[in-house]
Subunit: 325 residues, 2 copies
Amino acid sequence: MKTFNEISQLVANELEKINWNKEPKGLYEPIGYVLSMGGKRIRPALALMACNLFSEDLQAVVRPALGIEIFHNFTLLHDDIMDKADVRRGKPTVHKRWDDNTAILSGDVMQIAAYQLIADTPANVLKPVLDLFSQTAAEICEGQQYDVDFENRENVKAEEYLEMIRLKTAVLLGCALKTGALIGGAGEKDAQNLYDFGINIGLAFQLKDDLLDVYGDESTFGKKIGGDILNNKKTYLLIHALKLAKGNDLQELQNWLNIAEENQSEKKIKVVTSLYNKLGAKQICEEKMEFFYTKAIANLEKVSVSTNNKQELRNLAEKLMLRND
Amino acid sequence: MKTFNEISQLVANELEKINWNKEPKGLYEPIGYVLSMGGKRIRPALALMACNLFSEDLQAVVRPALGIEIFHNFTLLHDDIMDKADVRRGKPTVHKRWDDNTAILSGDVMQIAAYQLIADTPANVLKPVLDLFSQTAAEICEGQQYDVDFENRENVKAEEYLEMIRLKTAVLLGCALKTGALIGGAGEKDAQNLYDFGINIGLAFQLKDDLLDVYGDESTFGKKIGGDILNNKKTYLLIHALKLAKGNDLQELQNWLNIAEENQSEKKIKVVTSLYNKLGAKQICEEKMEFFYTKAIANLEKVSVSTNNKQELRNLAEKLMLRND
């Protein structure tokens, strides 16, 4: 059994080995750039860790795991065009450093590169891994579309929000884990429990992200606190605040949702945050996060390998919940 | 053996059966729209015809063939954003009817849908078909990138242009034919000869397109004649005209390349066309088209099935060369 740190190092080394220094440069250079921005590489690590539960040989899972990471980075690349985001991880985004057309086309070829890596799955599980990957990839696009749709809808329900983040974020974690499990030789039941573990960790992970965006520490979180509040993003916090607020609180919250002046930003963040606290939205979000985390741990417990061998995955899940970045 | 018309009908029926009426509508509706615009469906027809050379059972090739057609339509969708093209086949393009973000995301999920169909290739040839498809898909992106790069380059060589159209257009015809052959049970040699047949037909097809853009009949061609000339597109015709022109001819050609006024459009098309004629660029392009067509037919002749059974493919190749639309 390898530790998370050993696996992370292995993933980083293997990702480094892929050559993006190819012609035409205008197509491949942005891919090298995006991947050089870094990131936690959680998804390929999950694939390798899941594989490692069932097999000591991790060679066969490396390329499919990298395919999942490259697909993830492709979605960030195209999302950044759609969101008109100029900066990611402190660096100019591809469409900013190059242009929209470059970002579209480089993203397209990244998606193909992801499939090329997935296609190197051992023949005996190629079809189920490929189908799972495609289904997941389509679901991520669906999640992104719902996210966009929600911007123009007033009445987004908490359940709809959870379904959106399941699609947009959680399914790729589930896919990574199940892919690793299948390649490692797991049975269908274990593979499914690991998939469900990924879904529930993913949901908890995203709720944690929503909480950090409001309650995080700017110095460790890596982006400005309060961005979701300023964008009126319909997060689990806002959806519940709107549902719970009555009378003056509701009036005040709705007034602030209509204020977009930049010189009011700090005040807007401050007032909306106190409303989240007062209305109990913060607590509801934290409880829901705990709920999914507990479900995830229960899914992991059902996986038929020794408790000891599952410790690294349990530690990682805990780390993702306790993170402040 | 089925005729081309029978196969076209089969392709149209099977394409019709795919359900795009799914949620979220904003993601899937544009795909149904794009596919409803029509098109010759040459690529899936080629896949079925190639399969039919080796097998009477075409069921196994249908879904991969549709995957190739959907991939082709995905490239048109994203190319139209990049080219800021407002109209395709007489209808508003997706980014015009919806918006850029919709066109990006619907295109992304179309690419995934293409892979889902390719993944239904029979297990015994899944890996080679999948690898060929991914390689082809990446090459098409490379071709598009070269096409974009050439816009800002003065000195594009004829060989570079041919390599660009090989990547952008020809490889998908080759891929369709080889996919059909592999699924039909062809040996590697026959599959490769059919691939080469596709490459050479594709090159001839694109040179024919360049010729039609200048010498076609607007009423049958379906788009305005002279578009390439007005855009100073570095086609095989222009590249050769620039290479052959001397003295006053060169001066005149270069002057017209610098003229972009709309009220000069008709005159520009007329003068540049006569220069193509005078300099022999038209003849060179026609001869090169014939050259690739002849090579294609030679590739087809090498395929180890009866001449009679290859007649439909030979007819189709001829039709593509003699077409005026």
